[in-house]
Symmetry: C3
Subunit: 156 residues, 3 copies
């Protein structure tokens, strides 16, 4: 393999206003507890036997594999949300499926949709689900806003 296999995961979310869309995104990462790292985006599987942990402090500037949803908007008053869900398989030797969703809408709407996407994706695989874990964030835009949700993979 090219990269080390992740063994643990944790879920995070946050939202923020900022000087620009990218500043808002950066501050949403800080709010989520994964700021000051280098997120490397990937699509979107929970490795077998990957254990859930509470959020840990990642080393500054570390390269961190993450599946995430993000939404930025510069439309004042707009309600935006991002959410991720992971379908955890009943069989721990099988992988789980991570889904991401974002858009204009409430967290309730966006998170319900992403959970259904995870359920549908596991059903397509005929893979029994033990539980669906999800998290998200909602933001009402003032000038430049961002909502972020992610599932961080890590190796301890």
């Amino acid at each position: 393999m090219i990269f080390t296999q992740p063994t643990h995961y944790f879920i995070v979310s946050g939202h923020a206003e900022g000087y620009s869309s990218l500043n808002a995104f950066d501050q949403a990462l800080l709010e989520s507890g994964v700021g000051d790292t280098n997120l490397v985006r990937m699509s979107s599987i929970l490795p077998p036997s990957c254990q859930r942990i509470e959020r840990i402090a990642l080393p500054y500037g570390a390269l961190v594999p993450v599946a995430y949803a993000d939404m930025t908007s510069s439309v004042p008053g707009e309600v935006i949300a991002s959410a991720v869900a992971v379908g955890i398989p009943a069989d721990p030797e099988l992988p789980g499926l991570i889904m991401e969703h974002h858009g204009v809408g409430t967290l309730e709407e966006i998170e319900a949709q992403v959970r259904e996407m995870a359920v549908q994706g596991m059903a397509y695989r005929n893979r029994e689900i033990r539980e669906v874990v999800s998290i998200g964030a909602e933001h009402v835009v003032e000038k430049h806003g961002a909502a972020f949700a992610g599932i961080v993979l890590w190796k301890l």
Copy 2:
């Protein structure tokens, strides 16, 4: 170096309908034989002496470097396609160039274009081509469709 250098590659493609655009993308990956992994997107070079192999079963949840084209659409009846091409250099000590292309159109159109892009990119380098390898997928959208094509780098 930060990451291990790839030594082998294989080409994949697939298409699917799904519950949402992201579900369709996920199912196109499964159809391609690279589902249930974590694709890490990169731009887009075949390392020198990188050997072509038949598609292998990647470990569940592995982080996999890949150059890919993808196209999703929710317009019923629309024909979409994705294709990738790699210009293999005559001199095995030089790198090859991977190009990606996607859009509304037939596979024939999209794949012809991506092959020409690889030819042009190698010509710009004054690098003689031994062959152009390409692959793609076409999909006629019902509700939410996806077409995917990729070149996966790996280390054996």
Copy 3:
């Protein structure tokens, strides 16, 4: 950790015309001196004590973590630019913040904006700045043009 921690960085930029938008992007990378590698995009932190070096020749096809801005356009006569800035902290044990910006506009405009984004992001952290390092590229589009600027992380 999953990936090796970077220890050095260098800044690059370039612009080009090409056969297609992606060919223009590819040629802008060559012009920048990071062509013929596999860029892995990340968001966007300079690790503590990461040392600036002059641009080095990266191995062909290497997987290279980079924070970058890119802009392509196929509107003849349009002026486009991309720029990146990094806020270097006064305290070397703290991380720096990399910002990316691109758009229709001159390099002067785009680079001024990205520098301000880095300043604002460091201010949000209450983190004193030693200096702001930035680089960018501007391009006047003929048919298909690209402007690229990036901060490459590496381990020596």
